[in-house]
């Protein structure tokens, strides 16, 4: 039997909410698939569109940007800028035909270990049927 496809996901987590939420998932020993490599940034507002394009270019099968809930941002409003920027990036990627499932955004607070776990589980489940992301990755 062929080995099941394991998507590679890069997750940009804001330090104060989503990364802390993922820490909580850890502290609570919740289990989720190991497909995600987290990159902790200070704020979801600091995630440049270039990071996303670059991750797909470097072979990511999925990219997640996760920040604090609206009104809950450690930096007061960084996540609002992120929301707008990411919406545009998402529309652009979908417009050229990238599967919408491949690029996602979530709000995960420091208290939402359960939610973080669920977001990752769902993400991996949604990516598996799509197979490897070949559209934007650098041909080797």
């Amino acid at each position: 039997m062929a080995e099941e496809f394991e998507p590679k996901i890069v997750a940009f987590l804001c330090k104060w909410c989503s990364s802390a939420g993922s820490d909580l998932a850890g502290v609570s020993r919740m289990e989720y698939p190991p497909n995600v490599i987290p990159i902790t940034v200070m704020c979801s507002g600091s995630v440049s569109p270039l990071y996303i394009f670059s991750a797909f270019n470097k072979g990511a099968d999925g990219v997640l940007v996760s920040g604090c809930h609206p009104g809950d941002c450690h930096y007061i409003k960084g996540n609002y800028y992120a929301r707008r920027r990411i919406a545009l990036v998402k529309k652009l990627l979908e417009y050229v035909g990238l599967e919408p499932e491949r690029f996602q955004m979530s709000w995960v607070s420091a208290a939402e270990g359960v939610k973080y776990t669920q977001v990752i589980k769902d993400f991996v489940q949604e990516l598996k049927p799509l197979g490897p992301q070949k559209k934007l990755r650098r041909t080797q």
Binding site: M42, Y51, A55
Partner: protein, 648 residues
């Protein structure tokens, strides 16, 4: 090329149980730029730290990655370790392979692979870290306290008594907050006014406290240690120095409006003193309700004022102050009447909220301490207290517990029984939360000594019928339907952040939680600090709390503020934004997005005020030309981290 050392912690079996730490170490030892890789059972232990120190010295390392638990736990530890070996502390980064890896996965092979990628990503990052020194700033040794309730009063007194100057700003004409409205306080039943007024007087007489009532914070700029505040002082049209409190003015004032102090149970004039012990002791002309400031419009109060204290030409003033720390104690308000119609609140005169009932119980209240129904001034014989009115109801109202209601309802019922010994008090409750010193005993006393009837259940219907307020509900313990023909219903209404707190939070740039309460920096470890350094939280503005908790937090906030004000200089994290002026075109987009006003344009280029910058990096994602980056987490570093994360 840097010389990086990688230290992989087993954390006993916490990490080593699911991650093959030997393999991680071996793989990392081959990574470009890694000159030393080692694993150890507990890196944070003394011997563990010594291994790091020795390796730094022996291998001449210039950067360190510790693959261990979350950086929120031991980042400081290992940075200090690195520092003690002569390395700049910012040359140490943490790879979180416990919370984000070993604890959440079971498959050893996959978890190991992930841990390697996380560690490599940290190595790629640290390779481009620059040595940084904390930024120092001088301190303005003065504090601002916003809100003159018990929390604000306590903070102000603590600060002032330590010797620091304090500006206490209160938007109402008098300080005292909600506590001054209360009758007696649980669990000791001492008179609220009796214990509060001495503090209020102390504030008014304190040489270090500048009291600004009828004032509001309009604008704040600056940063920890050096805030600039603009305070709007609204005109009272009465000169407090001249006013003799003779009260002649209120006798001639033709306007009657609901009295806020009695929550509308009584009326007041357009010119008024909120309550007899008000601080400052003076009258205020409420311009919103005054028929007009021109003598032709009315002018009666000025006519009768012998000391000529009334000055219709008084204008709003903006007062600018500089302070080093700010305490926000804006308190609470009760849940709005309009949003709680199901209990007949706002519809029937004899359905009261907790604060109104406090006024009825108060010796200085509208009934001079007698419990009488507002509708017909008769003594109520059957009173129903409904707890959780608006609280713990995520579907319709507030999801949170308002915390103080269980206790004050017990107090209400008890005091009612003291006033009307032949009356019956019923309490509908979901459950009783009486954690606190002597609290549980207090509730028991209400039940056992005062015969308060506690009914576990929810009220389904409240309606008026033939002069009675019918309360239908279910006692879930017996399963029986309950119908009470009550004379009065008292709601333990939910507490909400005080009106306007959200706007203030925006001005102060401090975060709010989802319910609108001000957010603390850490729910457990930093409960009195806001997310903005130099700003602290006290009292019910942060979450519902009772008087002793509010006072404790107020003193805590004062202590935190003192820890800033007592410094010669403050230090600020140096991981701030940095501009590449060659690339900057001065478009100003980063200036617009900066949450801290830390950026400004000068001669067509952006400048960073390093003291204001918190390093969030929103500027860097906004910049179209990558001209601005956060030190030690630059786009280049993230780019390298992405590569490493994807195994490239």
């Amino acid at each position: 090329m840097k010389r990086t050392g990688v230290f992989v912690c087993h954390c006993g079996i916490n990490i080593a149980g699911t991650v093959d730490v030997k393999k991680v170490t071996k793989d990392l030892s081959k990574h470009k730029g890694v000159v030393h890789a080692e694993d150890y059972v507990y890196a944070c232990s003394d011997p563990g730290q010594n291994i790091i120190i020795d390796a730094i010295k022996e291998k001449n390392l210039d950067s360190v990655v510790v693959a261990c638990c979350s950086p929120t736990l031991h980042e400081t530890t290992f940075r200090n370790t690195s520092k003690s070996a002569g390395l700049n502390e910012f040359q140490c980064e943490i790879a979180n392979i416990r919370e984000q890896c070993s604890w959440v996965h079971k498959d050893m092979e996959k978890a190991t692979d992930k841990a390697i990628k996380i560690a490599k990503s940290a190595v790629q990052r640290v390779r481009r870290n620059e040595p940084l020194e904390p930024i120092s700033v001088p301190v303005t040794r003065k504090a601002l306290v916003i809100g003159g309730g018990i929390a604000g009063i306590q903070s102000a007194l603590d600060l002032a008594n330590t010797g620091f100057e304090v500006i206490l700003v209160e938007r109402a004409p008098s300080i005292g907050g909600h506590m001054i409205q209360l009758s007696e306080t649980f669990p000791t039943l001492d008179c609220s006014q009796c214990i509060l007024t001495p503090k209020m007087v102390e504030v008014s007489k304190h040489p270090k406290i500048k009291l600004m009532t009828y004032s509001e914070v309009q604008d704040i700029s600056g940063y920890v240690g050096n805030f600039k505040v603009k305070i709007l002082k609204k005109p009272t049209y009465v000169d407090p120095d001249k006013c003799t409190l003779c009260d002649e003015c209120t006798k001639v004032c033709p306007v009657v409006v609901p009295n806020e102090f009695d929550l509308g149970l009584t009326g007041r004039r357009a010119i008024y003193i909120p309550f007899p012990q008000a601080i400052p002791a003076t009258f205020t002309l409420d311009i919103k309700h005054c028929p007009g400031l021109l003598p032709i419009a009315c002018g009666k109060c000025a006519d009768v004022c012998e000391p000529e204290a009334i000055d219709y030409d008084m204008k709003p003033e903006i007062i600018e102050e500089e302070v080093g720390a700010i305490i926000v104690a804006t308190g609470y308000d009760l849940y709005e009447k309009e949003r709680l119609t199901e209990y007949g609140y706002g519809k029937y005169a004899d359905v009261l909220d907790g604060l109104q009932f406090e006024r009825l119980l108060s010796a200085s209240g509208p009934t001079m301490g007698k419990v009488l129904r507002p509708s017909d001034r008769k003594e109520p014989k059957e009173v129903v207290f409904i707890q959780c009115a608006g609280s713990r109801d995520p579907e319709l109202h507030c999801a949170y517990c308002s915390k103080i209601c269980c206790m004050y309802t017990a107090k209400h019922a008890m005091l009612y029984k003291h006033h009307v010994p032949d009356g019956q008090a019923y309490v509908f409750y979901i459950d009783i939360r009486s954690g606190g010193k002597d609290y549980e005993e207090f509730v028991q006393r209400a039940v056992e000594e005062d015969g308060v009837l506690y009914l576990r259940g929810k009220v389904s219907k409240v309606f008026e019928d033939k002069g009675k307020i019918k309360v239908w509900g279910v006692d879930t313990l017996t399963g029986k339907d309950i119908e009470i023909d009550a004379d009065m219903v008292v709601l333990a209404t939910a507490t909400r952040p005080s009106k306007g707190a959200d706007e203030l939070a925006k001005k102060l740039k401090i975060a709010m939680d989802r319910d609108g309460f001000l957010a603390e920096a850490h729910p457990k470890l930093r409960p009195v600090e806001s997310v903005t350094s130099g700003m602290f939280l006290a009292g019910a503005a942060q979450a519902p709390k009772d008087i002793p908790e509010a006072v404790a937090q107020a003193s805590g906030a004062a202590a935190k503020a003192i820890s800033i004000l007592s410094q010669e200089k403050l230090f600020h994290a140096p991981t701030v934004a940095k501009v590449n002026v060659n690339l900057c075109t001065g478009c100003g987009m980063c200036v617009e997005v900066c949450p801290y006003d830390a950026l400004s344009l000068k001669d067509g280029k952006v400048e960073v005020n390093e003291v204001l910058c918190e390093g969030c990096g929103t500027c860097s994602a906004t910049c179209l030309r990558a001209a601005i980056n956060v030190k030690n987490l630059t786009a280049l570093q993230v780019n390298e981290m992405i590569k490493a994360a994807l195994g490239g």
